[in-house]
Symmetry: C2
Subunit: 108 residues, 2 copies
Amino acid sequence: MTVAQPAVELDLELVLKALSSARRLQILEWLKDPASNFPVQEIGDPEIHGACNQYIGDKLGISQPAASRHLKVLTDASLIVATPRQGWIYYRRDEEVLDAAKRLINDI
Amino acid sequence: MTVAQPAVELDLELVLKALSSARRLQILEWLKDPASNFPVQEIGDPEIHGACNQYIGDKLGISQPAASRHLKVLTDASLIVATPRQGWIYYRRDEEVLDAAKRLINDI
DNA sequence: TAGCCATATAACATATTAGTTATATGGCTA
DNA sequence: TAGCCATATAACTAATATGTTATATGGCTA
């Protein structure tokens, strides 16, 4: 019996372009464990909601707008999800989409 | 018992940059079956040696130097291998490296 | 509802990518 | 060994990517 795979519609080239940046690979790595990799946040559960733009930009050592654009590239490729919460926006990995992307890549 | 994995040293960002191009994904796809995807060649076995620069450039509809550079990007990332043979240079997939790359990507 | 503050967007500079045409290189072969 | 011919490199152009600072946007909260 096979596990049903959700029909995630992915643009392989878009996904690979999003992944082909050391900065964005680093963000995805940190988001595997937001609670360990980012400062304590008063609001929301980092394990559920991820980390916010400012923390990510600070840790990368780049400006807030630069971090914002990296997060947009990852969001446009559907690899991460944004959750607005009390004035902050938390970003987390979308493991389902990441798995779908890996399956596509395994066919290369 | 696990199958021994060769210690292929790969730069993940370099590999992903090489893969993040529709042109280069197309080349890799065609090279899965060179005999079906390229004209008959007098010299060498396409299944073993792959296809040459000119055939690839012609099929992509780009110039010979443009194809040459795409092949260089893939070669620099170790994803394909060049085999010189009687004045032509054949390019084939390196399945071992591709598999190693996929294993790295599966850890993203 | 006024204002704060996190994020997004604009405008800009610079670097990289990807195409072109022209030319150099270098291994086969006659 | 002379020359051919496939490939590589050079020089250039245009588009894209990535960083900056300045500014706009818009949801919370006091």
